[in-house]
Every structure is written in structure tokens, then in C-alpha cells.
């Protein structure tokens, strides 16, 4: 092989590489990462308890972290296995068990305030991420069961430990029956 051929080969390869590289560079500059749609779809699968067990301040921040690859999909105990499977399907990954470091799944629960012990300190009101506790200073408080997500975030601020978690009421059982008679 003579020197000319080598030089030509190198030149052609270099020219191709430069031409395509320039095109790719131009393309890369044009492509903005379109992550917001993905975040929306991930967020839609999370249970929205806003409990922070994943160590992110709420479900949406966790969704952002998953979308960017900063967190894995195994951090959501309230969603349990169902959520992990849904996330795995959305992201086309293999499902994996929950990471116990972030807590274990529990059955659905809602907060309940023992109104005889509540002193009306109002400290639980801002702690509730979904404003499901009604009350005013020096008046006893009540949890709106339908809106409570069971996140347990109201427990630590309560000075008299009058909040407890109870099993969530079952969904309406009504189903259509045939009148086959």
C-alpha cells in the first residue's frame, strides 16, 4: 500500500467525519430535551400522597427525578408494587421490588383526629400537603376523609399526639346486576 492511498483514505474519512459531525452538532444544538411530557406521564402514575417517603418533597419532584434519571422507580411505598409496575411499563424497564430503605407498603389509610384531645393548636394545618384538615386556632380540627392521602405528615407537628391513622373507607361497592328474570 502506498502512501498516497493512506493519505486519501485518511482525508476521506476525516472529511466524512467532519461533514457528518457538523450536521450532528447542528442537530444537537437544535434538539432540546423534551422531558416535561415524560414528567407529566410519570407524575400521573404516582399516588399523589405527597408523603415524601421517596425523600423528594412531593410526588412531582420525584417524577422529575425519575425522568432525569436521578432516582430509580422503586422509592414509592404508598404506590406499592402496582406503581412500580406501571412505571416500569411506561419507561420500558424491567419491574423491580420496592427498595425497603424508603419504607414498606401499607394498606390505604386516612388520618383521624381525636377531637376530645385536640387542643386546636393549628400546627397540623400547614403540614398537610393537600389542605385536608379544617380547623382554626383554639378550635378543634377535623380531617376531611375524602381528601386525606394518609401521608402521615401531620403526625410529627401535633404536640398532643391526637392524630392517628385508620384504615381508609372502602370504595362504594355498587355494581350493576342483571335483571335476568
Amino acid at each position: 500500500m502506498n502512501l498516497d492511498a493512506v493519505v486519501i483514505a485518511v482525508l476521506v474519512a476525516a472529511a466524512l467525519a467532519v461533514a457528518l459531525g457538523a450536521a450532528l452538532g447542528w442537530a444537537a444544538a437544535r434538539i432540546e430535551p423534551d422531558a416535561s411530557a415524560l414528567v407529566e406521564r410519570i407524575d400521573a402514575l404516582l399516588p399523589q400522597t405527597q408523603c415524601g417517603q421517596c425523600l423528594f418533597p412531593g410526588c412531582r419532584p420525584y417524577a422529575v427525578a425519575i425522568a432525569s434519571g436521578a432516582a430509580d422507580i422503586d422509592r414509592c411505598p404508598p404506590g406499592g408494587e402496582v406503581t412500580v409496575r406501571a412505571l416500569a411499563a411506561l419507561l420500558d424497564r424491567a419491574p423491580r421490588p420496592l427498595d425497603p430503605a424508603f419504607g414498606m407498603p401499607k394498606s390505604a389509610q386516612v388520618a383521624w383526629i381525636d377531637e376530645s384531645r385536640c387542643i386546636g393548636c393549628a400546627r397540623c394545618l400547614p403540614a398537610c400537603p393537600v389542605d385536608a384538615i379544617v380547623g382554626a386556632p383554639r378550635l378543634m380540627h377535623t380531617v376531611i376523609t375524602a381528601q386525606c392521602t394518609g401521608c402521615e405528615l401531620c403526625l410529627p407537628p401535633c404536640p398532643v399526639d391526637c392524630i392517628e391513622l385508620r384504615p381508609a373507607p372502602a370504595v362504594s361497592r355498587h355494581q350493576r346486576r342483571p335483571c335476568a328474570a
Binding site: 402496582v82 400547614p126 393537600v130 355498587h174 342483571p178 328474570a181
Partner: protein
């Protein structure tokens, strides 16, 4: 309106109706005690208007229908209310709040019981309201309040009233017995219902395995000479008597999925409901009694019984000669869709058309079933009256794949049980689908709750932020104010 149906599916089943249907209807005397479930089978409860210890007259209102899907409940006998508590009942979930009345033996009748002088003079709206007060509910098996159905039919402009005398489910023959003995009541009720629903015509549908009932109703219609009241004889194929399937068989239209029969221009009522309406119109009696088939191999003398609502089932069975052999399951309804009850102390409800006492002879096939994996033979699909693919639905149900369940139409399942009936792998498909619907409902409730929580959380965050900004602004203005006067002195110190 959907096109003419292409759903001939269904199956001819062993009827088991001969025994009970031959003997005349037994009129059961009032029992000493009645147990009135406030949920009469439709899934919604009436609100009690009496308290324990109250004395009530026969026909007096004891529970008011606040919810449009609940129906009013009346005392069938004069007596004292001795208990009001949650008990086992023949309803979804197996328990309901019940009012227990001890009969006093007196035949004191409530003042409200007065015949409707001339039903034809009342406006449809008045008719519906009066029927609501009288607690008229569907006697066909679902127990849905008739007035609610009539009102929505009128709103949606239904043109045809179909009276369901198909009675396709095995064992049940109370409608057959009723039509044989009181065809005139059925026809009279049909006219009143037709007026209340605002429909142009009325068709009474009867399966071709009931020649005596067909003859009786034909005669009653002839006496009336009303062109807009006709009889349709349909083939005896299960489940032709299911509301949607009946409408398709009679009117040739399909009820849109997820819609009401009235969306297809049809409203459906049971023949027994029509007879009860006639009884109410002529005697003023609210819905206090019904005819119920008491049958099965576990009953000595199967027959049809007219009994007061709330009569304990044990009394009904006693009226038919008591138990015989070794009864295994007590079923409210027929063998295909009936609900197995835990006890014979529950009271008769308006929706209960049959008390089936089964022995191993009747239900041995189910008890001895050995479940094997699905071999996709497709027999279930060929009999499904809703045109579903149960074999595919089963896979989706086992995998809990909600999208697939919805797409394959688990909600279009009418729970007729035919897929179970024919399955060679003997898989309890209907029950799997019931559970799947339940889980779907739960998942959707969770999703709705999550969406609401997301919204509230966003508002919460915005509110906190606003509060923080306001606080910051207040703090800044205070600081600025504190700073301004001492601009020269304090500022130097910093």
C-alpha cells in the same frame, strides 16, 4: 341507536320450572314478625322515619326514599317496631340496616291506603310521584325503583315500554304463575306504566315455553282492544330475559354500552311490577307483598307464594312443606345469577323473585368442579350474550391489566354466568370478572383521588408561597421602615 343486533348468543338451559308452576299460588297469611331491609336490593338504602317502640299500622311508611335509587319501605302489617339494626340481608354486601316489626294481630290499616280514584286523570308526573310514595320497585330481580326509571324514560323520550315476562332463568316461575292467574292486572298495570313513562306503545314479551301465560295474556289484551298494546313471543333462550338482551329481541335495537335502555328509546319493566302497579291503583295498597317461587330439591312441595315483604324466608319454606333432604345452599334468585344467603332468617325483599333451596342434586356440578388452566377453546365467547371474549378477559383479569379489561369490555359483562356454565376448564369466570370490575372501580377511585390530591397540593404550595412572599414583603417593609429614619447613624454602624 345501534343497528339491528347480530347477537343470537345464549343457551337453552334445563328449566326446572315444572314442579313449582303446576300448583296454584299459595296466599301466605301475615307472619308474626317481618324483617324489612332498608336496601330492598337496588344497592341503596331508604331513610327510616320511625323509631324503635313506635306502633305502626299496615301500609304505613317506615322508611323514606331520599336517594333516587332507593325505594320507600312500608309496614306490611300493624304492629310495634322492636328493632332497627344492621342484619344479614339479601342485598349486595350481605348486610343492611333492617327494621323489625312484631305483628300485633290487629288489622289496623294506615290512613294513606286509599285507592287511586282514576289513574287516567293524573298527569304522568303525578303518577310517578305517587308511585314513588308507594315504594314501587322492580320485582324482576334488580329491585330498581320503578318511578326513577319511568321519569328518566320520559326525559329521554322513550317510545316503547317493554314488559318483561320472559323469565328466562332456570327454576323461577313466579311471573308465569302471575300471568296465568292475574293477566288482567298485568294489562291494567301496563296501561298505567305506559302513561307514566310517556311511551307510545307497550309490548309484553313472554318466552315460548309458557303457553298458558301466553294464552291468558292474549285473552286479556283482546278484552282491552288497545292497538298500542301487543304481545311478543320470544324463544326460550337464556338470558333473553336480561334487560338489554330482551330489548334487542323485542325491539331489534341495541342499548348503547354504558347507556340506559331509554337511550335506545325503550324502557323495560317486569310484568310483576305492572301487576303491583295495578294492585296499588285499584286498592291503594303500597308495595307490601310479592309473589315468590319457593323451589329446589331441598323443598318438600315447591310452589309460588304471595307473601308480605319482610317475611322471613324460613316461613316461606315452611309454607311449602319445609326442608327436604340435605339442603346445601339457600339462593335468592335462580341458579345462574342468584345470591347464596347465609341464613333463612333474612326477610323477603322486593327484588327476590325466587327462594331456591338446593341440594347436591342441583348444584353438584359446581361443587365438584376442578379448575384447570384455560385452553382458549372459545366456548365461552360463543355463548356470551354481550359478545365478549371471556377467555381473553380472564388473562387480563389475572394480570390485572386495567386497560385491556376496559378495552375487552369487562363492564359490558351482564353477569349472566353462561361462560362459567360451558367452561370445560370449569373456571369461575363470572366471579373473576366481578372481582376485576371491583378492582377497576377501586383503581379509578384511587386515580381520581390522586388527581384531586395533586390539585390540592398545587394550591397548597401556591398558598404557602404566597404566605411566604407576603411575610417576606411585610418583613422587608418593616425593615425598610426601621432603616429609613436611621439612614445616617445606623447605616454607618453596619
Amino acid at each position: 341507536m345501534a343497528a339491528r343486533s347480530t347477537f343470537p348468543a345464549g343457551l337453552v338451559l334445563d328449566a326446572h320450572k315444572q314442579q313449582a308452576c303446576e300448583s296454584p299460588i299459595i296466599e301466605l297469611p301475615l307472619p308474626t314478625q317481618v324483617v324489612l331491609a332498608l336496601d330492598q336490593g337496588a344497592g341503596y338504602s331508604a331513610e327510616p322515619v320511625v323509631a324503635v317502640g313506635d306502633a305502626v299500622a299496615a301500609g304505613a311508611l317506615v322508611a323514606r326514599a331520599d336517594h333516587p335509587f332507593a325505594s320507600a319501605v312500608h309496614a306490611p302489617l300493624a304492629g310495634i317496631i322492636v328493632a332497627m339494626e344492621t342484619r344479614e340481608a339479601a342485598v349486595q354486601g350481605g348486610r343492611s340496616l333492617c327494621i323489625v316489626i312484631d305483628g300485633s294481630g290487629a288489622d289496623r290499616i294506615d290512613d294513606s291506603v286509599r285507592p287511586v280514584t282514576d289513574p287516567a286523570s293524573l298527569s304522568p308526573e303525578e303518577l310517578v310521584q305517587r308511585m314513588r310514595d308507594a315504594g314501587i320497585a322492580g320485582l324482576g330481580g334488580a329491585g330498581f325503583p320503578t318511578p326513577t326509571k319511568l321519569a328518566s324514560a320520559r326525559e329521554l323520550g322513550a317510545h316503547t315500554l317493554v314488559l318483561n315476562g320472559a323469565e328466562c332463568e332456570p327454576w323461577i316461575c313466579c311471573d308465569d304463575a302471575l300471568m296465568r292467574s292475574a293477566a288482567d292486572d298485568v294489562v291494567l298495570g301496563a296501561l298505567i306504566l305506559r302513561r307514566a313513562a310517556g311511551t307510545v306503545r307497550c309490548v309484553i314479551a313472554i318466552e315460548d315455553d309458557k303457553p298458558a301465560a301466553i294464552a291468558a295474556v292474549t285473552k286479556a289484551i283482546e278484552r282491552l282492544r288497545d292497538d298500542a298494546l301487543t304481545l311478543a313471543v320470544i324463544p326460550a333462550v337464556y338470558p333473553k330475559g336480561a334487560e338489554r338482551q330482551l330489548i334487542t329481541a323485542v325491539a331489534g335495537v341495541e342499548v348503547p354500552a354504558g347507556g340506559l335502555p331509554a337511550d335506545a328509546g325503550v324502557v323495560c319493566q317486569n310484568v310483576a311490577t305492572a301487576a303491583a302497579v295495578a294492585r296499588w291503583a285499584t286498592r291503594g295498597e303500597p308495595m307490601l307483598s310479592r309473589i315468590v317461587t319457593v323451589t329446589g330439591s331441598g323443598v318438600a312441595h315447591p310452589g309460588n307464594v304471595r307473601a308480605a315483604i319482610g317475611t322471613p324466608l324460613a316461613a316461606l319454606i315452611a309454607a311449602c312443606g319445609g326442608y327436604r333432604g340435605a339442603p346445601l345452599r339457600l339462593i335468592a334468585g335462580g341458579s345462574m345469577t342468584g345470591r347464596a344467603l347465609p341464613s333463612d332468617e333474612v326477610g323477603l325483599t322486593k327484588s327476590m323473585n325466587c327462594v331456591l333451596v338446593t341440594t347436591r342434586d342441583d348444584i353438584g356440578s359446581r361443587l365438584g368442579a376442578v379448575e384447570l388452566p384455560c385452553i382458549r377453546c372459545g366456548d365461552c365467547a360463543s355463548v356470551c350474550p354481550a359478545g365478549l371474549l371471556p377467555q381473553q378477559l380472564l388473562r387480563a383479569a389475572l394480570a390485572d391489566a386495567h386497560d385491556a379489561l376496559r378495552r375487552l369490555g369487562v363492564r359490558d359483562c351482564i353477569d349472566c354466568g353462561l361462560c362459567d356454565y360451558v367452561c370445560p376448564s370449569q373456571i369461575p369466570l363470572a366471579d373473576r370478572f366481578r372481582h376485576a370490575r371491583r378492582r377497576l372501580l377501586e383503581a379509578e377511585a384511587m386515580a381520581n383521588k390522586a388527581a384531586a390530591a395533586r390539585e390540592r397540593h398545587e394550591l397548597h404550595k401556591r398558598r404557602l408561597q404566597q404566605a411566604a412572599t407576603a411575610e417576606q414583603r411585610a418583613f422587608d417593609s418593616v425593615r425598610n421602615r426601621a432603616r429609613q429614619p436611621g439612614d445616617g447613624s445606623a447605616g454607618d454602624g453596619n
